[in-house]
Amino acid sequence: MNEDHENNSQMTDLEEQHPEERSWAALLSKTVESIPADDRVVPTVLGALRLERERVADGSPWARYLSGAAQLQNSDFDAVQPTLQALRLERRRVRQWRGSVTRWIASAAAVAAVVAAVAVFAPSRSADATDAYSAYQEAAKGW
């Protein structure tokens, strides 16, 4: 890379830029700022950390599902491998949930009420079909 040698001749900081460049830099920064953060990331990481700390025992339904799958004949294994991988991913998620559920049940009765509410309402809640159509869009994309 010869860029190191070009540093002195390259204009560097915003203050040294031409107004047009400055307005482009500002536009780019503003646009980046306006991109919302993914709010799923914090719970995902916290779940993984809990797992790391608690080493939750492995007894999820997926584990049984997997052990059943693992007993398939060797010749089946290649075909089943991607599914197993997918299910392992699921199992990891389940374990995260289990970890959080265990802690949570021990912690407060108030939260238990929330769970009960969720248990009652979640399965019956229906929404727009965005989720379904995005599943289709993903499946229909060929590169």
């Binding site: 070009e6 047009e20 482009w24 780019l28 995902t44």
Partner: protein, 197 residues
């Protein structure tokens, strides 16, 4: 006895949210898991934003998760010479590189992340910032890898130039130069698509 009711106030310890990173690191090292959780809440979204632009959407969650698990395990060895955020960015970048070595073919979605379609990037829609966001993502995927990394660390990771230099293990001048080139490349592409500041 005066008979008056005496209420003794014990000063409450400061909430974790109010503590600086260095203090949280110290508490986490002493075994207070909530302190490390607070660090996660503080830094995970930015690290995810960085990882997403390097390894793609699918892998970024795993990368950030791996990075924090690695950091959690390595915490006793973290001497605090660097800032926590700089250290975490370095770990995250390493996890990104490890992923890319493991799945070299997964970089494809960076080449054309939105198949341009999802962006709807057309001169007609120039004024709508919604499209500019998508266009910026598409443009980012098209520029040189080093420039992209630098831009992403500074803009999405909100790092200063010196920290970025430390993370990328290059001279400060190189970071400045790459940043300018990143901006110039992005500008060329976006102008070509009809965007103006």
């Amino acid at each position: 006895m005066t008979g008056a009711l005496t209420i003794r106030f014990t000063p409450a310890p400061p909430a974790l949210e109010q503590l600086e990173d260095a203090a949280l690191v110290l508490l986490a090292k002493r075994g207070q898991d909530e302190a490390f959780d607070e660090l996660v809440k503080r830094h995970a979204p930015k690290l995810h934003a960085v990882a997403k632009r390097i390894v793609g959407t699918e892998e970024a969650h795993d990368v950030v998760q791996d990075a924090f698990i690695n950091a959690y395990r390595a915490l006793p060895k973290f001497l605090g010479e660097a800032q926590f955020t700089t250290w975490m960015h370095r770990i995250t970048l390493n996890c990104c590189y490890a992923r890319m070595r493991k799945h070299p073919d997964r970089g494809h979605d960076l080449e054309l992340p939105l198949d341009a379609s999802d962006a709807g990037v057309t001169p007609v829609e120039v004024s709508e910032n919604r499209d500019l966001k998508s266009a910026l993502e598409a443009a980012l995927a098209r520029i040189n890898k080093d420039f992209r990394e630098t831009f992403v660390l500074i803009e999405f990771g909100q790092l200063d130039y010196a920290s970025a230099a430390q993370i990328l293990q290059v001279e400060l001048g190189t970071v400045k130069s790459r940043m300018n080139r990143a901006r110039a490349s992005l500008r060329d592409i976006l102008e070509g698509w009809g965007y103006r500041p």
